[in-house]
């Protein structure tokens, strides 16, 4: 290639860089505008329908779109011929394109033409004549669409809020699955644990992972985590070796400490925000103080007073009260508390108040804030009445009544904060009424193969038709809980039997047991409905 051709091609290359840059920039702006419009329409859609994956989908569209824009931009960007034509249009009068076409020609006239071109391109200021200009109109449009997108993300409709909750839950779920996976790997590295112990722990974690994945909302997830914590504690308790215990404890802490702390922190924030909102309304000053004091009696009294004072309130006062409750509902994150406050906000307009519901929600949040629902405290263990708990554990349940009130989710928890075990007689509980059962066994109804000499614990499979209220013990009006002691527990003494058989036997025994017991009829109905729900 002679020097003439080289110089011409080198000039075209230089011009090409600027022209391509400008093209890709402006093409990109137009393409991004459409891309953002698509994202905006998705974001707008997410305001009206629950679309938890909107950000993920939008990000994917954005990322994929940007890559596509770059690829298509490069593909569509002007080739040398077009570059030459563009440069020619800036005053070279088609000299460059002609020279480019004559690049392989070497006759006199072609050479003369190329020399003429070279003469002209030497005086051609590329930077001045080929300025990289951005289409300002498109740029403004893109910025406008970005602003609209950002604005849309700040709008919180019901659907958007719901989607936020689902997203948050999905994230937590995902984090826990990862954590569990990590811990499974860590377990392998713990020298203090024997192979069997490692397998046992891994099994617990594997089961928990499946349950975490299967959990459909935060409540379920909390229960799964609590159950996992219990199992780990159980495993820890069964170890003789201190080092093994410590290792399991560390695993448990690694998995749950942060989550429990966060939960506690959130609950504290909720309590603070709630009281800050409530104190603004005179009528709820006492209630606010009662919440802050953490005294259950005071809370009960404050709620009762509030309910009774509703009758004497004018409609404007009721309105103000309703608004305060609505604001309080908006200020808290806890779903149950929010719901209770929202319902209270609506019902006070009619001069009514479901103080039990509100009280329970507040107390639960308080418990979370106190960290009492966390099972780190060894003394709390008894509150989680396991299926195979012995009678003395029933006593523990009683002592825990005022604490976290966690009934065991394995079907034996019977509300009232004491855990109505399936075994150990009837004992008076503390009767706080705030206990929560977490009766959410695995939906697959897995057999529990924890090696427990006291007999295998039977985990009640998740009931499709049942719900947790069955186990909250709300129906117990006198504040006393009952523990039914039965020799006919449903422990299978470590043997494995067919799930259907277990359920069948269990149901029959439970129904028979309830018929022969002194349980109030209302409770009997709950138990009956519960077991019917299992089928």
């Amino acid at each position: 290639m002679n020097s003439l051709n080289k110089e011409i091609l080198s000039f075209i290359k230089k011009a090409s860089r600027r022209i391509k840059a400008e093209f890709i920039l402006n093409f990109g702006l137009v393409a991004i505008k459409y891309l953002l419009s698509l994202v905006l329409s998705l974001l707008l859609l997410s305001l009206f329908i629950i679309f938890p994956g909107v950000y993920k989908v939008s990000s994917f569209i954005g990322l994929f779109g940007l890559i596509a824009i770059l690829i298509v931009g490069f593909y569509l960007s002007p080739n040398n011929k077009k570059v030459a034509l563009i440069v020619d249009s800036k005053g070279l009068k088609e000299r460059l394109i002609t020279s480019l076409e004559l690049i392989n020609e070497d006759d006199n006239i072609s050479r003369a033409q190329k020399e003429d071109t070279l003469k002209h391109i030497k005086n051609f200021n590329l930077k001045e004549k080929l300025k990289i200009k951005i289409d300002k109109k498109q740029l403004l449009l893109v910025l406008g669409v970005i602003c609209l997108c950002l604005l849309t993300t700040t709008i919180k409709t019901e659907a958007a809020k719901e989607a936020d909750i689902i997203r948050k839950f999905d994230k937590t779920q995902e984090d826990f699955v990862k954590k569990v996976e990590e811990e499974k790997k860590n377990i392998e590295k713990i020298k203090e644990l024997s192979k069997e112990e490692k397998e046992e722990l891994k099994k617990i974690l594997e089961d928990a992972k499946k349950e975490i994945k299967d959990s459909k909302d935060k409540k379920e997830l909390d229960k799964v985590l609590e159950r996992m914590e219990l199992k780990l504690k159980e495993a820890e308790k069964n170890k003789d070796n201190e080092k093994s215990k410590e290792a399991i404890k560390n695993t448990r802490k690694n998995l749950l400490e942060e989550y429990n702390k966060e939960k506690q922190e959130n609950a504290r924030n909720d309590i603070n925000r709630l009281t800050n909102e409530l104190i603004k309304n005179k009528a709820m000053k006492d209630l606010s103080e009662a919440i802050l004091s953490g005294d259950k009696e005071k809370l009960e009294k404050a709620l009762a007073n509030l309910k009774s004072s509703l009758k004497d309130m004018s409609s404007s006062e009721l309105n103000a009260l309703s608004k305060s409750l609505a604001k309080a509902a908006n200020s808290v994150d806890d779903e149950d508390l929010k719901k209770s406050l929202e319902e209270a906000s609506k019902s006070v307009l009619n001069g009514e108040l479901d103080e039990d519901d509100l009280k329970e929600a507040i107390e639960n949040t308080q418990k979370d804030a106190d960290g009492s629902s966390s099972n780190d405290n060894e003394g709390n263990e008894g509150s989680n009445n396991q299926g195979g708990n012995q009678g003395d554990e029933g006593n523990n349940g009683e002592s825990q009544g005022e604490g976290n009130g966690n009934g065991d989710g394995d079907g034996e928890g019977q509300g009232d904060g004491n855990g109505n075990g399936n075994g150990n007689g009837q004992q008076p509980g503390q009767g706080s009424g705030g206990g929560q059962g977490w009766n959410m066994g695995s939906s697959e109804g897995k057999e529990n193969d924890i090696d427990n000499k006291t007999g295998e614990k039977v985990f009640i499979p998740g009931r499709k038709g049942g719900n947790d209220e069955n186990l909250t013990g709300n129906k117990n009006q006198n504040g006393n809980s009952q523990t039914v002691e039965s020799k006919n527990g449903f422990n299978l003494d470590g043997s494995k039997v067919d799930y259907e058989k277990v359920i069948g036997d269990y149901t029959n025994s439970a129904l028979e047991g309830t018929n022969n017991s002194n349980l109030p009829e209302s409770l009997k109905d709950i138990i009956k409905n519960y077991f019917e729900g299992l089928n």
Partner: protein, 327 residues
């Protein structure tokens, strides 16, 4: 043929000097002079349309003088016969023999001024067809070659259409350019008065010979045209065809028939001359665009709608150029 840059530059200079020399004899009308020169070097014929007394004949005379070419003038009238144009066989006696001898008509020249061409009958007009297109004249069974170079510069009056015969499309297509001779402005008129009514008649020099013109034509043919530029010229021709899907809306609406391939040949040949006159060794889009109107305006046949909306072919061509993207 080995042509180098020097040849091209020499040609460019010669044409520039011719243009300057012709401008001495014709005041104003720069565009007309330039286009006529382009037509001469691209071997085309020119149809000049303008009012009487606009210097059309003077222009042809001046060109003939500068280029040192033979010049004939035929005043077309309704009774003009083809034989009056091309010539005829006459009986001559040579010694004892009596034979037919072809007496050449005024068409056998280098520059033919066909004055008021539309006043002759179509039959007579058609007598020029062969000469314009093939550069030959056939009388009886004999075909005679024209002198080279040969070109027809025809004139017609845009008014006084009574007793005229519009040129047939076939003949119009043989004119490379149709040029409108505009009325001179005040300054030009003053100069015309000074030159024609005083003894200051400018001396016109002969700058070229017929042979040299033919040589220049050959050199100009070597001027390069990029594919994209050539394609643009041909797209422009195609865009004048209403029957094609890609043609602009205005063409579909107002044009009845588009330009012929001869227009394509003409536009490229003429563009090459223009490029050389501009000192370039390649054709530019600008050459095509500038020459599009004189080349296409007489080749487009407009429909009644365009006449009713007072649209001219120039308006249509402007629109087509506007719509046809260069890059």
């Amino acid at each position: 043929m080995t042509i180098n840059e020097k040849d091209i530059l020499e040609v460019s200079e010669k044409i520039r000097l011719c243009e300057k020399e012709i401008s001495k004899g014709i005041i104003g009308q720069k565009e007309i002079i330039r286009n006529v020169i382009i037509a001469i070097f691209s071997d085309g014929n020119v149809l000049l349309e303008g009012m009487p007394g606009m210097g059309k004949t003077q222009l042809v005379k001046t060109i003939a003088k500068v280029l040192n070419l033979k010049f004939s003038r035929i005043q077309f009238t309704p009774d003009l016969m083809p034989a009056d144009v091309v010539g005829t066989n006459i009986i001559v006696k040579e010694g004892d023999n009596t034979l037919f001898k072809f007496e050449r008509g005024p068409v056998f020249t280098n520059l033919l001024l066909a004055d008021e061409i539309n006043r002759a009958t179509p039959k007579t007009q058609s007598a020029l067809l062969e000469a314009m297109g093939e550069k030959t004249v056939t009388v009886g069974k004999t075909t005679y070659e024209m002198d080279k170079p040969f070109m027809v510069l025809a004139t017609q009056n845009p008014i006084e259409q009574e007793g005229t015969y519009p040129l047939p499309e076939a003949q119009l297509d043989r004119f490379l350019f149709k040029l409108y001779v505009d009325f001179p402005n005040l300054e030009e008129l003053k100069e015309i008065m000074n030159i024609t009514l005083t003894n200051n008649t400018p001396i016109i020099e002969k700058l070229l010979e017929g042979e040299e013109i033919l040589k220049i034509r050959n050199i100009i043919r070597e001027v390069k045209i990029a594919d994209s530029v050539q394609e643009y010229a041909l797209k422009l021709i195609l865009a004048t065809h209403p029957e094609l899907d890609d043609s602009p809306e205005i063409v579909k609406k107002y044009v009845e028939a588009g330009a012929s391939p001869r227009a394509g040949q003409g536009i490229i040949a003429a563009s090459k001359v223009r490029a050389v006159m501009e000192g370039r060794l390649n054709v530019a889009f600008e050459d095509i665009q500038t020459l599009a109107k004189p080349i296409l305006r007489h080749r487009l046949i407009l429909n009644f709608d365009s006449i009713s909306e007072n649209l001219s072919t120039d308006d249509i061509i402007d629109k087509v150029i506007e719509e046809l993207k260069v890059v």
